[in-house]
Each structure stands twice: as structure tokens, then as C-alpha cells.
């Protein structure tokens, strides 16, 4: 796996605006870039787990009628 580059404020702002549809002010994006680094480090722990043959806990059930 390629070494991850630190998240930048520009990336945060672009993802928020273009993909999530929630545009962010520049100072908020900068603060979130700093906050997101430790989160990504935490997620790296998940990526190192022995998950090769493990399916997600959420499974799709075909044909299940909505009950509301």
C-alpha cells in the first residue's frame, strides 16, 4: 500500500463541497484537516487487521418487505 500523504485543508474542503455537498469555510477546513490526521491513524489500525476472509457484519437480505 502506498504511503499516505497528510490530509490538507484543501482536500478536506474539496471533499466536503464536491462529494458530500456541505461546503466548508477555509478556517473550518483547516481545523478539520488537523483533527482528521489522528482519525486516519486510528483507521490504519483497522486496515492492518486479519480481515481477509471476514465479511462485513451488515448483510443484505433480499426480498425483505419494508414494515412501515
Amino acid at each position: 500500500m502506498a504511503k499516505r500523504q497528510p490530509v490538507s485543508a484543501t482536500t478536506i474542503a474539496a471533499v466536503a463541497a464536491e462529494f458530500a455537498g456541505h461546503p466548508l469555510e477555509a478556517e473550518r477546513a483547516a481545523a478539520y484537516a488537523a483533527a482528521y490526521e489522528p482519525i486516519l491513524r486510528a483507521f490504519e489500525q483497522l486496515r492492518r487487521l486479519p480481515l481477509k476472509n471476514v465479511e462485513p457484519a451488515c448483510v443484505f437480505t433480499p426480498g425483505e418487505a419494508r414494515r412501515d
Binding site: 466548508l24 478539520y32 483507521f43 483497522l46 487487521l49
Partner: protein, 468 residues
């Protein structure tokens, strides 16, 4: 004259059934206590004294005419302000829902009303249940009744503080990472997170669909069992609600724990908790051991990744739920909750999926452990209640964030959906309560309630009350 607010739900129920106490007297006693104490504690955010007295009068009339509905009939209750209550404002502690008045009840609210319970009002919550301290709410923080400068824990902090201050005998909560058990531990009360799907989530504002659980806060395990008995069971309004048979939880409370095998996972759960807390938990284990339980040292593989997995799921599911509101009303959220929600925009789908895969890995590891033991026991949280406003806590000489430390021991069991019960197990040198957590197998609520009830027969921590 008996102080009615000092009695447990089980005691009140027996007195009401025997017609020696009226539901109206009980309700009046609690309303008087709320009037005296809520200003300092901030546990209730909506009070319906008139409605409560009318419901109490109706219950009294039914009982006097031989129409007793059961052990909860005529007993007051408070619901977390995350639960929808027909005709009564439900805000989730957020300005986003400041004027929201639902036109239907959450399933749990309806079931407890059908059991004859008297609704006093709604209790404070961390905004949208997205935080474990209850410091962030449009109504302001909840104060801990044992020390009003300290957090109540959250997100069901209003419910826990209301029980601790004897402003209600029973309250509802919800638990996504520990939001029933954390405030139960901080406030010295009993809290039960049932198995995922055991109690309907319908009509409760979601935080994370796959980790949300509904359950009670109470003084005793027996009172929690009474709530569970009335609330549990299938619900077509909740697609995750289980069809597994509902056990007879009260019949399970035999006081007998002889031969019960208690798994003790010291790594992670004990070695990263304050010594004052682990000392109290070890003493609690000794009580259960003296009653005939057997302690078994165990280790849970991969447990260290639980916080990362829980974080990925919070960030993904909570942000998805709030997506449309974030579009046009982001300014109505508190700064803290808005930050969590907007950070969720950055989550990669693969990390969410890895988290969901981790849940299976952890669940399989625990299933193997439950072949050797009947229940697990851990400190409920790593510390006692921290000062309101503190963001860091020192544990065994190392500094940690309050959020990380307070969630560490509870959120693994949201990931795997297993039932967990928190019981008060003593006080530290500052007079703050600590909690013991008992975890059971899926749908094994009867087992942990039995152990909790046995422990409470041998101790009186649950009967202690703060000086207010």
C-alpha cells in the same frame, strides 16, 4: 412517614398493588423533588406535572376498581428526550428540533404507558446522543448529583442524574457507545443495554442504526428487569427488532450465582483504568466470588481496535442520518456535534466496511470466549466523573482524552450487540461512584440481571443517595 422517593420500583409497585400507597401520592412526591432539585441538576428539560397527575389519578381509579395492570402500574417514569412522545416536545437536546412535537410515541414509550406508567417528562441528553459527557445540549450540561461540578456522563445523563437524585424511580436511555452505561457509572445507578434488537428503537432518534440500543436506567437490577419485561419483544416498526422469545427476567432473579463463570479480561479493560476504580471492581468480583461465582482470566483478541471501528461507524452512519440537515441548517448544531458530523464527510467507504468486518472478527472472538465463561466483568468506565469542561484525564500517569477513556470499556459491546449491565460498586476517595459492568451472551439479559441482583442483595451501593 415513608419517603416514597426512597423506594425502588419493585417496592412502589408492591405498595400500589396492595393499595397502601396511591399513584397520586407517589407522583406528587416525585414532582416535589423535581421542583426542589432540578434547578441544580438540569436533568429534566420538559416537565408535564398536570399530565402526570392526571395519569396517576387514572391509574389510581383503575386499581381501585380491580383493574391492576401489573408491577409498573401507577409508577412514574421519565423518558430521554431522544424518545418521541406524542404531544410532548422532543428535541434530542438540539436547536435543530427545538420546536418538534411528535404525533406518535416511540414503541418503548407506548409499551410502558400500556403497562400503566405515569410520564413525568423528558430528560436531558447530549445533542442527538452524539457525545458521552452530556455537556453539550441546547439546555446546558447535566450536573452530577454526587458533585455538581462534575459531568453526569452521557448521552443519557439526564436520566441517570434524575435517578441518582431520586427525581424519578425509572428512566429510559439509549446506548450507541455506552450512553446508558456511562452515565449509570458516573451517577451511581444501574443501567442496562440489552442485546441489539431486544428492545425496539422505533421512535427514538438514531445516532448509528447498527449500534443503537434502547434500555433502562434504574436504582436496581430488579427495577431494570421490570422495565425490560414490559419493553422487550418484536416490533414491526423496527426492522432490527428480534423475534427471539422474551425470557422471564424476574423469575431469573434467584440470588443464586453459584457456579457462574465470570470472565475477567484484565488487559485493555483494567490496565488502562484508574486504580481507584479497578480496586472497587476487584472488590465487587470478590463479593460475587464469595457468593459462589468462579473467576476466569481471559483475553479478548483484537480488542484494541474497537475504538477505531466504533469511530468509523459513528462518522459514517451519524453523518448519513444528518446529511440533509447539514445541508441547510448546520448552524443550528452545537460546534462540537457539527464538527463530528462534518468530519464524517471525509470517511472512506472502505474504512466503514473494515469497521463492519471488524465487528464480525470481534464477535467471533467473543463467541469463543463465551464457551468458557457465562458472563464477562469489567470496570464500566476507566475513571470516575471528570469536571465539567475537562477534555483530558490522567490514568495511571498517562494523559488521555475524556471521550476516549470514557468510551473505552463500553463501546466494544455496542459493536457486537451483546447485553451489558452496569451496577454501582462503591466510591472513590472523592466520593464519586464507580461502576461494575457485566456482559452477557446474546439475549442473555436474564443471566447478567441475575448476577447483578445477587450482587445488590449482598451490597448497598445502589441504595446510597447523594446529599442534596
Amino acid at each position: 412517614m415513608t419517603d416514597l422517593t426512597a423506594l425502588t420500583v419493585a417496592e412502589l409497585g408492591a405498595a400500589i398493588a396492595a393499595k397502601t400507597v396511591s399513584p397520586v401520592e407517589v407522583t406528587q412526591a416525585y414532582l416535589a423533588r423535581i421542583a426542589r432539585l432540578n434547578g441544580a441538576i438540569n436533568a429534566f428539560v420538559t416537565l408535564d406535572a398536570e399530565g402526570a397527575l392526571a395519569a396517576a389519578k387514572a391509574a389510581e381509579t383503575e386499581i381501585m376498581h380491580g383493574q391492576w395492570r401489573g408491577p409498573l402500574h401507577g409508577i412514574p417514569i421519565a423518558h430521554k428526550d431522544l424518545y418521541e412522545t406524542r404531544g410532548m416536545r422532543t428535541t434530542a437536546g438540539s436547536r435543530v428540533l427545538e420546536h418538534h412535537v411528535p404525533d406518535s410515541d416511540a414503541t418503548v414509550v407506548r409499551r410502558l404507558a400500556e403497562a400503566g406508567m405515569v410520564l413525568l417528562g423528558k430528560t436531558n441528553t447530549h445533542e442527538f446522543a452524539y457525545g458521552p459527557t452530556n455537556e453539550v445540549s441546547m439546555f446546558g450540561p447535566v450536573a452530577n448529583p454526587w458533585d455538581t461540578t462534575r459531568i453526569s456522563g452521557g448521552s443519557s445523563g439526564g436520566s441517570a442524574a434524575a435517578i441518582a437524585a431520586a427525581m424519578t424511580p425509572l428512566a429510559s436511555g439509549s446506548d450507541t457507545g455506552g450512553s446508558i452505561r456511562i452515565p449509570a457509572a458516573c451517577c451511581g445507578v444501574t443501567g442496562l443495554k440489552p442485546t441489539y434488537g431486544r428492545v425496539s428503537r422505533a421512535g427514538i432518534f438514531p445516532l448509528c442504526w447498527t449500534m443503537d440500543h434502547a434500555g433502562p436506567l434504574a436504582r436496581t437490577a430488579r427495577d431494570a428487569a421490570l422495565f425490560l419485561q414490559a419493553a422487550a419483544g418484536p416490533d414491526e416498526r423496527d426492522s432490527a427488532c428480534a423475534h427471539a422469545p422474551v425470557a422471564d427476567y424476574l423469575a431469573a432473579l434467584t440470588g443464586d450465582v453459584r457456579g457462574l463463570r465470570i470472565g475477567v479480561p484484565r488487559r485493555y479493560f483494567y490496565d488502562r483504568a484508574q486504580e481507584s476504580v479497578t480496586d472497587l471492581v476487584e472488590a465487587a468480583l470478590a463479593v460475587l466470588q464469595a457468593q459462589g461465582a468462579e473467576l476466569v482470566e481471559i483475553d479478548i483478541p483484537h480488542i484494541d481496535a474497537a475504538a477505531a471501528a466504533a469511530l468509523a461507524i459513528y462518522l459514517g452512519e451519524a453523518t448519513a442520518y444528518h446529511d440533509d440537515t447539514l445541508d441547510d441548517r448546520a448552524h443550528l448544531y452545537s460546534e462540537q456535534v457539527r464538527t463530528f458530523l462534518e468530519l464524517g464527510d471525509q470517511l472512506l467507504a472502505k474504512d466503514y466496511i473494515h469497521a463492519q468486518r471488524y465487528r464480525r472478527l470481534l464477535g467471533d472472538a467473543l463467541a469463543k470466549i463465551f464457551r468458557q465463561v457465562d458472563v464477562l466483568a469489567t470496570p464500566a468506565i476507566a475513571m470516575t466523573a471528570t469536571p465539567i469542561g475537562s477534555t483530558a484525564v490522567t490514568i495511571r500517569g498517562a494523559e488521555d482524552s475524556v471521550f476516549s477513556a470514557i468510551l473505552r470499556n463500553t463501546e466494544p459491546f455496542n459493536l457486537v450487540g451483546l447485553p451489558a449491565l452496569v451496577l454501582p460498586c462503591g466510591f472513590d476517595a472523592q466520593g464519586l461512584p464507580a461502576g461494575l459492568q457485566l456482559i452477557g451472551q446474546a439475549f442473555g439479559e436474564a443471566e447478567i440481571l441475575r448476577a447483578g441482583d445477587a450482587y445488590q442483595r449482598a451490597t448497598d451501593w445502589h441504595a446510597r443517595r447523594p446529599l442534596l
